[in-house]
């Protein structure tokens, strides 16, 4: 049994008027507070916003399927492709419903996104279904908004590809996923960026639902990649594997938050990253257990390998616990070069230092894309 209902929307959004949002975008700061005592912003806002300034004039967009073809993934008839020129669905559509959720406006880019995005889709998934969504921009500023509602007692595989292959473009996207009770969802998100990318994903988990999420992020000129997992129903659980591969002068701020709002909820987050070249990478996240989320369990583990003199690696795993009645709440992180034992072990298997960095990078990609037929995708990241 499979049923995918979706609707394409070419504009409106939020309860705020466009004019008000535009004003907000001008006055709201890039972010309210500095990120750390020594680093003002982990996100490369200046780059994100500089591109935006340049984009004010740029209206034209091009290159619909081109980007996707570059990915050479295996396309299926029911896949949804949203590019900057049109919303293309390869399956028939029905007008069923409107967007319901509001986009939070908490920083400048979010505000810009809220009034400037202009491509979107709303899907409803039930039974057993797969949805693959390709966000493929051309040049210029492109904003996408996606809403995916998953009915109770369903199983779904969602693949989200964010492809911002143009160096001069700003790509913003928000994806809201609402997982009904007792549903099981697997989400794979691959982000490849050369320009500036602002990504926001919000996943809400109902009673006893489970989400397995795999993420691969790369840097580009500037990437802010944020995902929130809200465990709102009792016994909801999620397992998240976040990987990042960055090289050259890429800048990545990867933020994955897990928010426990109901009893007996479980989250497991593992992030791994390899930071080479002159790239700068932050892996951050807040694991929050609210008072009523009794007997919850939180496990965060993060590894960042810093492999070159010019690279910078930051790890900020935040734990906020509002109750003593927790099953367990822990995190551990390590930031270091590839340990010499690993290096020697792999050399003993015949690999050079460059091979080793590559091998670990590929390993990270494979973990993120375990559910996909990758084709030549790997090459794009490496």
């Amino acid at each position: 049994m499979s049923s995918v209902k979706s609707v394409g929307l070419d504009k409106p959004l939020t309860n705020l008027k466009v004019s008000k949002l535009r004003l907000l975008a001008d006055i709201i700061p890039v972010q309210k507070y500095g990120d750390s005592p020594t680093i003002k912003h982990y996100t490369n806002w200046s780059k994100l916003l500089r591109i935006r300034e340049a984009e004010r004039a740029l209206k034209s967009t091009k290159g619909a399927l081109e980007g996707i073809l570059r990915f050479s993934l295996v396309l299926k008839p029911e896949d949804i492709i949203i590019d900057s020129a049109s919303t293309t669905y390869m399956s028939p559509l029905k007008n069923t419903r409107d967007f319901k959720w509001k986009i939070p406006v908490e920083n400048k880019l979010q505000a810009i996104h809220a009034y400037k995005w202009y491509r979107g889709a709303s899907l409803r998934l039930s039974g057993e279904s797969d949805a693959s969504i390709y966000l493929s921009p051309g040049e210029g500023y492109v904003g996408y908004h996606l809403e995916i509602n998953i009915d109770p007692n369903s199983r779904a595989n969602i693949t989200l590809i964010l492809d911002n292959s143009s160096q001069s473009s700003l790509h913003s996207s928000s994806t809201l996923i609402n997982v009904g009770s007792n549903s099981q969802v697997s989400i794979t998100t691959l982000e490849r960026s050369r320009g500036a990318t602002y990504h926001y994903k919000y996943v809400k988990l109902g009673n006893n639902s489970r989400v397995e999420s795999r993420i691969l992020a790369s840097g580009g000129e500037a990437t802010r990649f944020r995902e929130d997992y809200l465990l709102e129903g009792p016994k909801a659980s999620t397992s998240i594997r976040g990987s990042s591969v960055s090289k050259a002068d890429e800048r990545l701020d990867l933020i994955i938050n897990t928010i426990h709002r109901a009893p007996g909820t479980i989250s497991e987050l593992k992030t791994r990253g390899i930071v080479s070249g002159c790239s700068t990478v932050a892996h951050r996240g807040v694991a929050k257990v609210y008072k009523n989320a009794e007997w919850s369990s939180v496990d965060v583990e993060s590894f960042l390998y810093i492999t070159s003199d010019k690279a910078r690696a930051y790890s900020v795993p935040v734990l906020e616990v509002d109750t003593g009645i927790v099953e367990s709440a822990k995190h551990s992180t390590a930031v270091m070069n590839i340990p010499s034992e690993i290096e020697f072990y792999l050399m003993q298997r015949g690999l050079s230092r460059n091979d080793i960095i590559k091998l670990i990078s590929i390993g990270l990609l494979e973990i993120a894309a375990a559910n996909l037929e990758l084709g030549e995708l790997g090459k794009i990241y490496l």
Binding site: F303, M347, Q348, R349, G350, L351, K358, L359, I360, I362
Partner: protein, 245 residues
């Protein structure tokens, strides 16, 4: 054929091994036995070329070619395989990816992790079965969360698949049950049958109950204090190392 001539090894300025002479012929199982701290693992690391293990004197020759100044990966590609006593966990790297990469290096395939042929994958799966690991281990991160015994099985699996000339195994039986030890011994026997030279480093003679070594060298305090045939292993088992020191 692996020849070690007059080898002296220093670690952090301290001499660990001195005047080591060894020869491992094709199709021969050579056991190095010795108590804790005698320098057994140092010998393995020195042969494999680990950083910090300074060769102060002597040579390591493989089929007459001097390996002493080569990088670890160059030695590996020449045919030296070391099965580690404690292989490190490789978060993010699947066991199969590791093996594919190592195979591709040996064949000069540029794309490191690209499966050259399905035969490789089949070989990995068959190998897993043979060493007593389920097929799912191919997709697990190498050595991550593996038990002591599972690590040993994964090491001998790589020894089988990478087709080296010399297989050095550092404590290949620790953490294994009796059935596991027998299996490892059986594979050692097969490798010997294929004409590989084996250097098995161990404290106890447990594994030699299943396979008799051709030669035994006893290492105490960084020196080889006795050499003999296979029966020497059983003597050590009965009497310990006291009589050698």
């Amino acid at each position: 054929m692996l020849e070690i001539e007059n080898l002296a090894v220093e670690v952090e300025g301290k001499t660990i091994l001195e005047n080591i002479n060894l020869r491992v012929n094709k199709g021969e199982l050579h056991a190095i036995m010795g108590p804790n701290g005698s320098g057994k693992s140092t010998l393995a690391y020195a042969i494999a070329g680990k950083g910090g293990y300074v060769i102060r004197n002597g040579k390591i020759l493989l089929d007459g070619e001097d390996l002493t100044r080569l990088e670890p990966e160059e030695r590996a590609l020449k045919g030296i395989f070391l099965g580690f006593q404690e292989p490190p966990p490789l978060p993010g790297v699947k066991l199969s990816t590791l093996i594919v990469a190592a195979l591709n290096k040996r064949r000069g395939v540029k794309d490191l992790t690209k499966l050259s042929s399905m035969r490789d994958y089949k070989a990995i799966l068959e190998g897993l079965e043979k060493v007593g690991l389920s097929k799912s281990y191919a997709l697990r991160e190498a050595n991550v969360g593996f038990s002591g015994g599972e690590k040993k099985r994964a090491e001998i699996l790589q020894a089988m698949l990478l087709d080296p000339k010399i297989v050095i195994l550092d404590e290949p039986d620790s953490g294994l049950d009796v059935e596991g030890v027998a299996k490892i011994a059986e594979i050692i026997g097969e490798l010997r049958g294929e004409g590989k030279g084996l250097l098995v480093i161990t404290h106890y003679a447990r594994i030699f109950k299943h396979i008799k070594p051709d030669k035994v060298s006893i290492l105490v305090n960084g020196k080889i204090v006795a050499k003999g045939g296979g029966e020497l292993a059983y003597k050590v088992d009965d009497e310990g190392y006291k009589s050698f020191s």
